[in-house]
Symmetry: C3
Amino acid sequence: MIDEKLKSLNIILPNAPKPAGSYIPVVISNNIAYVSGQIPVKEGKVVFSGKVPTQQSIEEAGKAAKLCAINALAQLKASLGNLDRINKIIRVSGFVNSTPEFDQQPTIINSASDLLFNIFGEKGKHTRIAVGVASLPLESTVEIDMIVEIS
Amino acid sequence: MIDEKLKSLNIILPNAPKPAGSYIPVVISNNIAYVSGQIPVKEGKVVFSGKVPTQQSIEEAGKAAKLCAINALAQLKASLGNLDRINKIIRVSGFVNSTPEFDQQPTIINSASDLLFNIFGEKGKHTRIAVGVASLPLESTVEIDMIVEIS
Amino acid sequence: MIDEKLKSLNIILPNAPKPAGSYIPVVISNNIAYVSGQIPVKEGKVVFSGKVPTQQSIEEAGKAAKLCAINALAQLKASLGNLDRINKIIRVSGFVNSTPEFDQQPTIINSASDLLFNIFGEKGKHTRIAVGVASLPLESTVEIDMIVEIS
């Protein structure tokens, strides 16, 4: 069912991006899946890099956040086999590569939150943090990690 | 009992602040409640904004941290109905809007930690992270999120 | 067995460092242990301070990350009695004290990740976030916290 929902939203999950370090993308403990921090990578390349708002606009950074969320779902699909196993998105942590003055991180991470709600409906309503960080791996504009309840 | 404790400490929980984005304040999974990042909002307005120590003193930032913790408890009360359902504060994550030189984040987040210990006693003893970030939503001085075990 | 593995790797766990604030090092909920953020402290002193790459090289910062992981294990040993009780490292969060331009946080946190894999093997394969922050407590170069499944 989630696969059909993705199709209706024109979202194509990529092959799960490889981690940029010596760790793994998903760990399951009890009925909780933890997803490693995802950056806006597409076909092996960071496609949104630099700080908001000087090097990326809020709008572009929103696209970066959405791509991070899509990559997280790709990791979950690769690990779980089927996204229908997701009972509930528990937590989304959003880190935005920000200048010291930038303060609209929520607007950017909303692009990820809205996507999750559009895909999962009530099950996609999650808790969240959104903070501005000094820098991110490979100059990524956004990094997002997730905690998910599964069955 | 916790309500009486709050009264004896002259702490009045506000109405639960609305999230500054498209997500929800609390998600419960198994017997764990996750609280979204809380900023120092009072009656709909951020009352502690700017960086430590240039725009806010350590003392004022401590008040901000305390207010974030109070807002987290307000969210938990709205979600759980009764704070007596809290078995244990598991985790407090504290993000302090910091200049690149500022390094006394623990002193600031202690104001939140002390509050939780004063209210919950042994059940309030939690693990913690405290980091300095480049910027926070709505120029907030502090953002705090929590993970709590409930019954 | 983990104690022997540590010996074979020439790793000596220190006495568990005291938290730099009013909180506790480890909280256990259900079968999950949460470890507070650990900084690169040795015998009560921060031994790696300052930002990467201007004040600390990537190589030195990697040593800092490794020391943070060792301190986290020391906390777990003090709390659990025996590191053989660790079933699985679930999550490692790595915060690197970074200049706004620095983007190789994964390389640094890899030193912690590699250590955990060397000690715990398959059980040590974890999910991870790595971000660059504006500043850290006591000017620490790295802060790392962990979530672990225990038996």
